[in-house]
Assembly symmetry: C2
Homo-oligomer: 297 residues x 2
């Protein structure tokens, strides 16, 4: 995803933004893992397989739009990526989605073993909390509010509930609304946090921002589910058409690709309207959001 | 374990202390789990199987000795028990220690299924952080320091590393010191936190307290390992002699029961000396510590 330069004032090096975000994250992750033990090595393995770093990129872009120094966004972006990685490591386990491939490489339990994968996921969650707690660029009130919000989004009423519904629905026939709610829980809430978390440091969080974040989070899962059905394993870096094999109840599987495209288009239209209203159009955030809706890998 | 009354001023109802701690914890846990979803129900199942509540009891007793109101200790005691329960749920998984029985009842993955057990453990960890973050009786500076310490003790350089070594050692021949270090990581660090955490609220944390906490933490695992070898499944509420079957490298298995008893006695002697030095002898904490060293179930 190339991010266009724009006329808006920005502290970001946009010419090479993806690699800048990658470097920042790698430097954070190198600080938190020592590479001495099997657990360290397995965590480094999971984190060195970077994917698209969409969540941290959102943190840095929204933060930049609000005029927040990058140094004050780093632990937030890092923590979100750690949580995301923990969820993938556990999600890939044989007792969950049982996937051998993640981002084009063997999943953690394939490269190491199952017990290491369970423990590495556990440790990644702890490290996420620790990263924010140890950040000297945030005051304790900011840390408190960030962690409190994050914990609610990923716990038994958030991401973990979404993951559990995802598995339970394999043997059920959930409604459209139930699947959409599951999507929001398992994927949306953390993406929303990537967009909303910088407001704990600066800025006025309005209803429009909440709606923008919600649109992006839910559409992201809808597009992922379409890609799973329509692309090859090589292109998406994980086993394609796995959802069908696993009897997953995604919107495109249960209600068709056409219906899903109509839904995504509705979210996209609403999102672009909000971008205009929030005067994001001259900021690279807007181009990045646009690229998320055009994902084809 | 009966806790003797003493002449020291205490706000605790010691006549029925075990049931008081149990009631307090159950009321905390009822607030954090809603019992609507499978995840909620599985978490409640894990928490309703209380065991001996040794860690929360230590928090309340040390806190009482320091003159801290019980209401300010509840989320700390609760969070430690949530973390302990998460570690047991994951530890019992087929890919880890593969145990069917915990505290005399089917383990979570037996009662529900493996994916629910992975997710319930994940959620229990999150809930622990959330419980302290939401506590209105602690100020944000106290919360910050407590969480920061806790995160270091349970992460990839603490409890999780200990669990991983425990599994790796099944295929190795670790030295006495290596096993002792593993014991401290997997069990000791959280028990130490139960004793030391109240000092974030009040009191002078001296070297003696650190040593006391360390002694109790390591001895606890040594005694557990002896009980595994010498008692019946019925008595200890989990599969007895499991360590031998799993090729675990515990101190009694590798160096004999006699050597283990000598070690425990050394720790006990040191601990009792410290209790006297810290003037704990008239406080029920001392009797409770004594009972931990005399555990026979």
């Amino acid at each position: 995803m190339a991010i266009q330069k724009s006329s808006t004032k920005t502290a970001l090096d946009l010419g090479n933004f993806e690699s800048v975000v990658d470097k920042k994250l790698n430097s954070i992750f190198q600080r938190v893992t020592k590479n001495r033990t099997t657990i360290d090595k397995s965590i480094s393995y999971a984190l060195s397989n970077p994917g698209k770093r969409i969540r941290p990129t959102l943190v840095f872009l929204v933060g930049d739009f609000l005029g927040i120094e990058t140094s004050r966004l780093e632990s937030i972006a890092g923590a979100i990526e750690l949580i995301h990685t923990y969820s993938l490591v556990h999600d890939d386990l044989p007792c969950m989605d049982d996937d051998d491939l993640r981002r084009g490489k063997p999943t953690l339990h394939k490269k190491f073993n199952e017990s290491t994968a369970v423990l590495a996921g556990d440790a990644l969650q702890t490290l996420a909390f620790n990263l924010i707690l140890d950040d000297k660029n945030l005051n304790i009130s900011e840390k408190h509010d960030l962690l409190s919000d994050l914990a609610k989004r990923i716990g038994p009423e958030g991401m973990v509930l979404g993951q559990n519904l995802d598995i339970e629905y394999e043997k059920k026939n959930p409604s459209f609304d139930e699947i959409m709610e599951m999507n929001r829980l398992k994927t949306g809430l953390l993406i929303e946090f990537s967009i909303l978390s910088p407001f704990y440091l600066k800025g006025d969080l309005t209803k429009d921002w909440y709606q923008l974040a919600k649109n992006i989070g839910i559409s992201f899962q809808l597009i992922d589910d379409m890609l799973d059905l329509s692309e090859t394993t090589e292109k998406i870096g994980k086993t394609a058409k796995k959802d069908l094999k696993n009897n997953k109840k995604t919107i495109p599987i249960c209600f068709g690709i056409d219906k899903t495209i109509i839904e995504v288009d509705k979210f996209k239209e609403s999102t672009m309207e909000i971008c205009e209203k929030l005067c994001l159009n001259n900021h690279p955030l807007s181009a990045f959001i646009d690229s998320l809706f055009s994902r084809k890998f």
